[in-house]
């Protein structure tokens, strides 16, 4: 059980992100990361010397450079030697690894960072490489084509309409107007969005995520150290991640049982009682699936940052969800929050992180 009520409480105590942009044309990964790492430290007055562990998330496939995560460490500086790890996944999973380290009690603090440049390569082809290599990859389906199958299944099941997708997109990008890091924002009504052309039916342009380059970083701290570093830490009361089968045809794409399981593992009840939820739903219809899988009520503020429809740097957008949710606890605008990260086609793998304000004893 990943969220067993043992071990020390762990909290997010700092969060920073780069401006999320369509294309980082001039900076390399290290140059993108350095200001973000600097900011996540300076916000709480620490340096890398204060970090007991460093964990990063990224994918070499995105930039076509083997071991790019090793050279990215130049952004942190690795002398004297430090304990360091990497996951070839979104930074949300790097945070999960750091959380287990802190729970185990070996270290009190951890830096988690991720970087993702979706622009240098041929993204649809790169994402097809994560599919079943015998029957699916050779067909080279684009992620949008696969998402469209899911959206179509949702419509056929009578669970949503194209207008619902447009409503999600309109709301997300309107909320993104208040997010200075967002790549895509705007105030266009759903009725107007419905005039967009289809990219792959039933998904119109507005229901797709932007292609984004970006970076993000989080500092985690355990027990008393968290309260020392941050006046209002965002305690991780539970975190869990679950995965569904590789075979798309064997899944009911209209539901997300792995999200529901992860939410239970993270200690969330059937109707998640949270003030705010940051959901990693790259395609508009996926927010509807996630809302149902998590049992979110109408009173929950969903994706106040604009979510992945406003910026979707691969390997980064999930960690940004945790950072955005935690930020709202740290700044006092929320007391309980939920963050979600996804990976794989059609919400194949899902991580749920429950966060709450309160004293360290409030963290499980």
């Amino acid at each position: 059980m990943s969220a067993a009520p043992t071990g020390r409480p762990v909290a997010v105590v700092s969060f920073a992100q780069s401006p999320q942009v369509r294309r980082e044309d001039h900076r390399n990964e290290v140059e993108m990361l350095m200001p973000v790492v600097e900011e996540v430290f300076s916000r709480i007055g620490v340096t890398k010397a204060d970090m007991g562990f460093v964990c990063s998330g990224s994918s070499d496939y995105l930039v076509g450079a083997p071991f790019s995560f090793v050279s990215a460490l130049d952004a942190v500086g690795v002398w004297p030697p430090m304990r360091e790890s990497h996951v070839e996944m979104d930074g949300a999973w790097a945070l999960y690894e750091a959380w287990t380290m802190l729970r185990a009690g070996d270290v009190d603090t951890a830096l988690v960072y991720s970087f993702g440049r979706s622009s240098p390569g041929q993204l649809p082809k790169i994402l097809a490489l994560q599919l079943d290599p015998y029957y699916l990859t050779p067909l080279w389906p684009s992620p949008t084509a696969l998402a469209a199958l899911q959206a179509r299944a949702l419509i056929d099941a009578g669970r949503a309409t194209e207008e619902d997708f447009a409503e999600v997109a309109a709301r997300s990008r309107r909320q993104a107007l208040a997010n200075p890091y967002a790549q895509l924002s705007g105030d266009r009504a759903a009725e107007e969005l419905m005039k967009d052309d289809y990219v792959v039916s039933p998904l119109r342009r507005h229901a797709l995520p932007p292609i984004t380059d970006g970076a993000a970083a989080v500092v985690l701290a355990a027990g008393d150290r968290a309260a020392e570093l941050c006046p209002r830490p965002a305690w991780i009361t539970g975190i869990d991640h679950r995965i569904e089968t590789h075979a798309l045809g064997a899944r009911d794409l209209t539901t997300s049982p792995s999200t529901t399981l992860a939410a239970r593992g993270a200690g969330l009840e059937e109707s998640a009682a949270v003030d705010v939820a940051e959901l990693h739903a790259p395609y508009a219809h996926q927010e509807l699936i996630l809302r149902q899988a998590l049992g979110l009520g109408a009173d929950v503020s969903v994706n106040p940052s604009g979510g992945a429809l406003a910026a979707n740097a691969l390997m980064v957008a999930g960690l940004v969800r945790i950072g955005e949710a935690a930020q709202r606890i740290m700044d006092g605008s929320a007391t309980r929050a939920l963050a979600h990260a996804t990976s794989g086609p059609c919400l194949q793998q899902n991580l749920v992180c429950a966060l709450a304000a309160g004293t360290s004893s409030g963290g499980r």
Partner: protein, 168 residues
């Protein structure tokens, strides 16, 4: 189905060609270095904290994790810290074997990079040998390491081992 199995022709191998193109971003510091090469110059960057000079620069000090902002023009001359004599032919080889591939520490730099050594028999190259860059003609200079044709001995006395032992 019956027909396919009747012959017992099991599929053991399948081919699935993969080709992906990328657009490479050198980065700000490395772009400065590459532009320097097109002017026949080696441009490095210095760490403001430990004062080490990196060439080629990546924009950060890998030890301190801080941006390297001071640009430093380095000498055309340097020292062979270590080397290897290539005797094995391979596909796409453009230089006649045997040839010398060396780590070269430019004067004033704290990072060695790989370079080709010419104008000396392969069995006479040595650690500590002083070398200088030979550039392509000015009209052939470009933002690429190919702007440096090779390094050749300067004829100076060899550098003391102590002066480059940190860079092997």
């Amino acid at each position: 189905m019956t027909e396919a199995t009747a012959g017992d022709e099991r599929v053991a191998i399948m081919e699935s060609p993969i080709h992906v193109d990328y657009r490479f971003t050198a980065g700000l510091a490395q772009s400065r270095f590459l532009k320097g090469l097109s002017q026949g110059r080696f441009l490095g960057q210095r760490c403001p904290r430990c004062h080490k000079v990196y060439v080629p620069p990546r924009g950060s000090c890998p030890t301190d994790g801080v941006p390297t902002t001071d640009e430093v023009e380095l000498s055309n001359q340097g020292t062979v810290t270590t080397y290897c004599v290539v005797n094995v032919p391979f596909q796409g080889q453009s230089i006649e074997i045997p040839y010398i591939c060396a780590q070269i520490l430019l004067d004033g730099a704290n990072l060695a990079f790989m370079g080709l050594i010419q104008e000396i028999p392969a069995d006479q190259v040595r650690m500590g040998m002083r070398v200088e860059a030979v550039w392509v003609p000015p009209d052939e200079l470009g933002p690429t390491m190919a702007s440096v044709r090779y390094f050749r001995p300067t004829g100076e006395p060899d550098a003391e081992y102590e002066s480059f032992k940190e860079y092997l």
